[in-house]
C-alpha cells in the first residue's frame, strides 16, 4: 500500500500547479480551469484521508465538492459568456473595471 504522505504530497503539488496557473494565466477560461484543478487536488486529499481513517465521510465531502463544482462551473461559465458579450474579450487584463 502506498503511504498516506505520498497521496497528500501529490495533492499539494497539484494544488500549487493550479495556483500557479491561477496567478500566471491571462485567459479567464484557463483561470477557471485552474480553479477546478485546485478543487480536484483537495478532493484527492479528502479521499486519501478517508481511506486511511477507514471511514466513508471523506468520500461524502468529495461528493459534495463535485456537486458544488458543477454548480460553480455552470454559473461561472454563464458569467464568462455575459462578460464576453459586453466587453468582447476574455483577457483578464482588460477586464479591470467594475462598471461598463
Amino acid at each position: 500500500m502506498v503511504p498516506l504522505s505520498h497521496y497528500i504530497a501529490l495533492s499539494a503539488i497539484l494544488f500549487v500547479i493550479g495556483a500557479a496557473g491561477f496567478i500566471f494565466r491571462r485567459n479567464i477560461i484557463t483561470v477557471f480551469m485552474c480553479i477546478e484543478l485546485m478543487l480536484n487536488a483537495v478532493n484527492l486529499a479528502f479521499m486519501a484521508f478517508s481511506r486511511f481513517r477507514g471511514n466513508l465521510d471523506g468520500q461524502l465531502f468529495v461528493f459534495f465538492v463535485i456537486v458544488v463544482a458543477a454548480a460553480e462551473a455552470a454559473v461561472g461559465l454563464a458569467l464568462i459568456i455575459s462578460l464576453y458579450r459586453s466587453r468582447d474579450t476574455l483577457a483578464i487584463d482588460e477586464l479591470d473595471s467594475m462598471k461598463l
Partner: protein
C-alpha cells in the same frame, strides 16, 4: 497496486503542467480531462469505486463538456502575452515556492510514512448512498437548493440582455 499509483501520479502531474503551460484553452481543457481521469484511477486505488465513476461521469463528462462548449462558443484562441503579469511573476513564484516547501515539509514531518491503513471500507454505491441519506441528509437537501439557484443563475446570466 504500488506501480499504478506512481504511474498515474506522474501522468497527473504532467497533464496538470500541460493545463497551465498550453496557450490555447482547448488544449488546456483536454489536458484537464486527462488529469480528472487519472485522478479517477487514483480513487479506484484508494478503494473509492463509486466516487471514481462519479468523477468520470460528472467531472470529466458533464463539467468539461460545458467548458469545451463555452470555449468553442466564444471562439477562444491563443492568449496574447501581456505585460500586466509582471507583478504576478515577481511576487507569485517566490510565494508559491515557499508555499510548496512549507506544505511538503509539514507532510514530511507530520505524517509518518509507516502508518498502516485500516482495512478498506466498502465504498460501493450502496454504502455511500446509505451514509448520504442517513447521516448527511440535511446537506443533501441544501445541495438541491444550491443546484436550483445555480440553474436559475445560469439562465439569467446567459440571457441576451442583462
Amino acid at each position: 497496486m504500488v506501480p499504478v499509483f506512481y504511474i498515474f501520479a506522474a501522468l497527473t502531474i504532467i497533464a496538470a503542467l500541460s493545463v497551465i503551460l498550453q496557450r490555447t484553452p482547448v488544449y488546456s481543457a483536454l489536458s484537464l480531462i486527462v488529469v480528472l481521469c487519472s485522478l479517477a484511477v487514483l480513487y479506484v486505488s484508494l478503494g473509492a469505486k463509486f466516487l471514481a465513476v462519479i468523477q468520470v461521469i460528472v467531472y470529466a463528462g458533464a463539467i468539461m463538456v460545458l467548458f469545451v462548449l463555452v470555449i468553442m462558443l466564444l471562439n477562444a484562441g491563443r492568449e496574447r502575452h501581456t505585460e500586466g503579469s509582471r507583478l504576478a511573476r515577481w511576487l507569485g513564484v517566490p510565494l508559491l515556492a515557499a508555499f510548496l516547501v512549507e506544505i511538503l515539509s509539514v507532510i514530511w514531518n507530520g505524517l509518518s510514512s509507516g502508518a498502516v491503513a485500516p482495512p478498506a471500507p466498502d465504498a460501493g454505491p450502496a454504502a455511500v448512498g446509505a451514509l448520504l441519506f442517513r447521516h448527511y441528509v440535511l446537506p443533501f437537501e441544501v445541495t438541491s437548493i444550491l443546484i436550483l439557484v445555480a440553474i436559475l443563475g445560469a439562465v439569467v446570466l446567459a440571457k441576451k440582455q442583462l
